[in-house]
């Protein structure tokens, strides 16, 4: 069965700090990988996705993620966070008809 784990439950950073959120998945076949974000009071939005090709994927708002197949990982990065990046971030994987989400990482950015 597919599963997704995220390394941190809650991350607190100061503005301009670099961000890396860890994500590992468990699935034996070909997968599609996603990061979703939920800003306070808003609905889930797709941040970026990986289907195939270049394992370094660039998304919206300066985020990127790297797919490392050998490590079953899809970590999210941003070189310099802003207060507006405060949100909850969900890693997700799809190896069939449905998407499975990780437990989420809450990011708080302090001005």
């Amino acid at each position: 069965a597919q599963s997704v784990s995220q390394h941190n439950h809650h991350v607190i950073l100061s503005e301009a700090a670099s961000l890396e959120l860890g994500c590992n998945y468990s699935y034996g076949g070909t997968v599609n990988l996603f990061w979703y974000v939920q800003y306070p009071g808003q609905h889930l939005q797709l941040l970026l996705k990986y289907f195939s090709g270049d394992p370094l994927v660039k998304g919206i708002k300066g985020f990127e993620a790297e797919f490392i197949k050998s490590k079953f990982s899809f970590n999210l990065r941003k070189p310099s966070v802003q207060w507006s990046d405060t949100a909850e971030y969900f890693c997700a994987v799809n190896g069939g008809d449905k998407v499975i989400f990780g437990p989420g990482t809450s990011l708080s950015v302090i001005p």
Binding site: F34, Y36, Q42, L44, D97, K98, V99, F101, G104
Partner: protein
């Protein structure tokens, strides 16, 4: 284009009552999904419609939950009778079949509180 619409946005009901949640997907999206997030826990898959057919309902917790998608347009999720543990946020998502198949668009969710 209009997004995925869910209503109500909030619902507070007593244990034992019935609640019906509604989801209107993006027009033309054949795939419709229901997910649930119980407080502080992960977002869990409930079921998947392709048009009006249930493709996968393996995530439905028990027979108190009934989902329908008559005519392949909007979907309803009924909880009857509601229990305390049903409290949470219910998300609906839709997607096209095709090149963007795996890019879900989510609704804003319905926050259900059972007291």
């Amino acid at each position: 284009e209009a997004g995925v619409t869910q209503f109500p946005s909030h619902s507070v009901i007593e244990k034992g009552q019935t609640v019906t949640l509604r989801c209107d997907p993006i027009s033309g999206h054949d795939n419709l999904y229901w997910y649930r997030r119980v407080m502080g826990k992960e977002i869990k898959f409930l079921l998947h419609f392709v048009k009006e057919s249930k493709q996968d309902e393996s995530g439905m917790p028990n027979n108190r939950f009934l989902a329908e998608r008559t005519g392949g347009t909007y979907s309803t999720l009924k909880v009857q009778p509601a229990e305390l543990e049903d409290s949470g946020v219910y998300f609906c998502a839709s997607s096209q079949t095709g090149t963007d198949y795996y890019g879900y668009t989510f609704g804003s969710g319905t926050r259900l509180t059972v007291v």
